[in-house]
Symmetry: C2
Subunit: 228 residues, 2 copies
């Protein structure tokens, strides 16, 4: 099952305009997932002919999707030689985490100012669910909820540009963090940090939330530095 169809996702059957997704759009998501999940590993060349045939799509929308991903920084365009999946060095990852840290600190500050109580409650709900997954040892769901929480806090900051930049970096790092399988004690520490985060958010304690978010990401680096 590797065929692509633009009708794949049907939104809720309720009224309102039905989504008409274009093929190149669908391809962007699909290729992004393939890169993140390692189906396309760093350094892999994206053969237009072969890849297109594999996905059941012609070269035109495929090329458009690749250009989009190039601007996102997931692939690299080599003139006259096509596109390859970008490879990140340890320094690259460290650089990204440094920026991400700064952005999340900002997000924490803004979120404390701008978030609605309902919004904070939603983050709390995500957190509780994540803790449940943690206790159940469900690593995949834990990671996904983890990402969602960070994204949710950024959303609470109500700053579109911040959300954009954060999203780009988070996407680039997903491939890496997926690999970061820390041991049980580090994992427990990460969960504890999350608990602190939520508490600070609920107290709307800017300084504290900022500090915890920053510390959390520096620790993330400690956890993955060898894996890169």
């Amino acid at each position: 099952m590797n065929e692509i169809t633009s009708l794949e996702r049907r939104p809720d059957g309720g009224p309102g305009p039905i989504r008409r997704t274009a093929l190149h759009d669908t391809l962007v998501s699909h290729l992004r997932d393939m890169i993140i999940e390692g189906d396309l590993s760093p350094g892999t060349r994206l053969h237009e002919g072969q890849l297109g045939e594999q996905l059941g799509v012609s070269r035109t929308p495929l090329r458009e999707a690749i250009k989009y991903l190039a601007s996102e920084g997931l692939v690299e365009l080599v003139p006259s030689r096509g596109a390859v999946v970008k490879r990140f060095s340890a320094k690259d990852v460290h650089d990204m985490l440094t920026v991400l840290q700064t952005l999340e600190e900002l997000a924490g500050k803004l979120a404390c100012e701008a978030a609605s109580d309902a919004g904070i409650a939603e983050v709390r709900a995500l957190h509780d669910e994540m803790v449940r997954r943690y206790k159940a040892g469900d690593r995949l769901q834990y990671y996904k909820l983890n990402q969602q929480i960070h994204s949710a806090i950024v959303q609470l900051a109500a700053n579109a540009a911040l959300a954009d930049m954060h999203g780009v970096l988070q996407t680039r790092l997903k491939r890496i963090r997926f690999i970061g399988h820390e041991g049980p004690e580090k994992w427990a520490a990460a969960v504890a940090e999350h608990e602190e985060m939520i508490a600070a958010l609920e107290a709307r304690d800017k300084a504290k939330l900022s500090e915890v978010l920053g510390r959390h990401l520096m620790n993330a680096w400690e956890r993955v530095r060898d894996a890169v």
Copy 2:
């Protein structure tokens, strides 16, 4: 003269491989400039047929360039209805400046740590040249050098991800800042801030440089807030 050729820019005539730029790449730069300089104003639809004919290019590379710019956030893709130049609200601009401020503060810190003396000297040279243009009343060159200085400081930070994010936001804002024609006294204040920046950089005073860069951008907002 609106024709596009991929041979338009010939790098320094010295030996070495001659640049073979792809048409879609050239188009990205060209369209970006057109948007920044207002040839394509916000809300304008990018008609593929018309625009392609005007530039002497077929639709295929044009579409690829548009997808790239969409990922950069300069244009918006409306399914089945093409692309339009993105329109920024006052809040959007404020949001971008907020993030840009945070990024430049970070850049200042990192630059003080990582920059070489030669690198700092280059920024000083740019600054002196900018002051010269200021005194000559050459607004356009002043603006260009201004941007270059900010970019140069970010470069000194030696953080690729930071440079990426900063570049995206700076590009998005270029269109706005181009409009921001402040009065003589504000202009003088901006130049004075720049002088402070360079001094702090030469002293490698992290805290000071960060502070000035942050203040500088907040003032930039004061200068353009009415123009948006």
